[in-house]
Assembly symmetry: C2
Homo-oligomer: 335 residues x 2
């Protein structure tokens, strides 16, 4: 099946009737049990389920409207070069939704993710875009359908459709119609994330390529599905019982195991920089000294701390330029 | 079975008749396919076979004689404190061979391994000791028996019984009588090793403890036996065909996969220091630039380069304080 086939299934017989404009916001998300390895490269179908926490107000706002002659994209108010990787990827995604070959889009995206945080914006970006398309074309799709459409842009985008804790259920169908995100019915107001930027440079190998290389060449990857399944159960228990130690240990162990599968790939995938390792050793020393702080990492050099609000001052003291986010600290907001 | 049971089997009905002194030299060895994980903690029986290259003149020379009152050990001419880890480990090993409870040993060991090289000396040390005991007690054991006795002191010591390329066959017997080293019938005069010391500090977790923690807690370890079996076959092909790229890739990939299993253990085992990672990235950059240099690492922070003699000057240029060893460059010596 192609992406185009899936879009047809999702939209059923809906017409795409453009309104003046469509707009939406979607949060970034940080995975505590990682999405690492696809069973279908075209449809971004994962080998395992994954679990993330969304970042509330930190994410992408996207406005979409019709454009006269060719697509036009802006990112944080700046025009995006049409020959950039970003523009090409966006254009290919929008091709799935053009009502006619000569229908063009104007897409304006503003990321509220702190630029110095080293956070990927493709998840919130494609989720916001899928919501905005739904708004623009007046499809009235439910969130499950939006999650599937967002996945076609970037796998982890399917989780950015919800706030709070979110599970992406891997599913087993060839069409991926059972592979979408669902929110977990729990909040954790005391939970804090700390973003530590190690490098702002583009990573040497994209997540997509890194994932593929790992699945194809890393013998240790064979144990990854078992590892992630165990970690998913542990994380759900931790979230349900508010067991922070279990949450932190599991998330850190899952991230380290993901990097381990990459390190054992060939050629080796070493996203860690010396400064990443220095920070990891520091976190371990702090923990040995009694500060309950854990971390997770994605396919890159940057580090995301996990800690509780009671330890915020101690953590802030230890890490310069840390950006602290409290995913559940938004009064009155439903998850 | 205990170590003592195995010693009885190995010695059969031989008497231990002390001569004036016994002495022997055994080379250090560097594994290209690692020994990582035991199936028997007491007897140092491995889960997988492993393959190493011995370092020729770099190793341990040991002289053993009877001592009047209590054991006495010297290392490189210095007395060894009786309450040190080293002395306790040596004493427990010697307990296996005392002809009477009040029989004591004087053990003098000289390591010719460059101290700044960050190489473990327990392998050459226990191999030299097993040979020296054989000489001292006039047992006339063959090398297979010596290899088994050396293993009881330190697993990898069983490989230091031979020069050149050596395979430690894991074996399947409970007694471990089929778990010993054998030499491979190939030399590789152009092969060079480069020792790079990253840290001279004692490692935070011993190899023995690290191995145990990995086997017990790292889900990715489940794929390690398959990885090592594949790598062993590749290494044998590489050695037979003098395919340096295959040798280098396989050895590096095996070492990285071993570290990957540790990184995925809990608590995480991170022997790498920032400087290790910096050096690894440098090696990868040099390789991208066309210099065929690979590396291996043991359970520690130090790095051992693999390259061919034609690239020796280029390699030396790039790494300060590198110690270069040519394991096969000893004219007239048989493997």
């Amino acid at each position: 099946l192609t992406k185009s086939d899936v879009v047809k299934i999702v939209l059923e017989n809906r017409q795409s009737e453009p309104s003046e404009f469509g707009e939406a916001f979607a949060p970034a998300n940080i995975a505590l049990a990682k999405y690492w390895g696809k069973r279908d490269e075209e449809l971004n179908l994962p080998r395992t389920s994954s679990l993330s926490v969304s970042l509330g107000e930190y994410g992408s706002y996207t406005k979409i409207s019709q454009n006269g002659n060719g697509d036009s994209y802006t990112l944080n108010g700046q025009a995006v070069a049409t020959d950039s990787t970003f523009a090409r990827r966006l254009g290919l995604y929008l091709d799935l939704f053009r009502p006619a070959k000569d229908f063009f889009f104007r897409v304006e995206t503003v990321n509220s993710i702190p630029t110095a945080a080293g956070l990927a914006s493709s998840a919130s970006g494609f989720a916001a875009l899928a919501f905005a398309l739904n708004d623009f074309f007046q499809w009235h799709l439910d969130k499950t359908a939006i999650s599937i459409l967002a996945r076609l842009g970037s796998g982890s985008a399917c989780r950015s459709v919800y706030n709070g804790f979110v599970e992406w259920q891997a599913g087993i169908e060839e069409s991926g119609m059972d592979s979408f995100a669902l929110p977990l019915p729990h909040t954790w107001p005391d939970l804090c994330l700390g973003l530590i930027e190690i490098s702002s440079e583009e990573k040497p190998v994209s997540s997509r390529a890194g994932m593929k290389r790992t699945v194809e060449t890393s013998v240790l990857y064979k144990s990854w599905p078992e590892k992630t399944e165990k970690d998913l159960e542990r994380l759900k228990t931790a979230i349900e019982k508010k067991d922070f130690e279990l949450l932190g240990q599991t998330a850190e162990s899952n991230a380290l195991a993901m990097h381990a599968t990459m390190i054992a790939a060939w050629p080796p995938l070493l996203y860690w920089l010396p400064k990443s390792l220095e920070t990891i050793h520091k976190i371990h020393r702090l923990r040995d000294d009694g500060l309950p702080v854990y971390f997770t990492m994605d396919a890159g050099a940057n580090i995301k701390l996990l800690f509780e609000v009671k330890d915020m001052d101690d953590v802030r003291c230890q890490f310069e330029n840390i950006k602290i986010i409290r995913p559940f600290d938004r009064p009155g907001e439903k998850v």
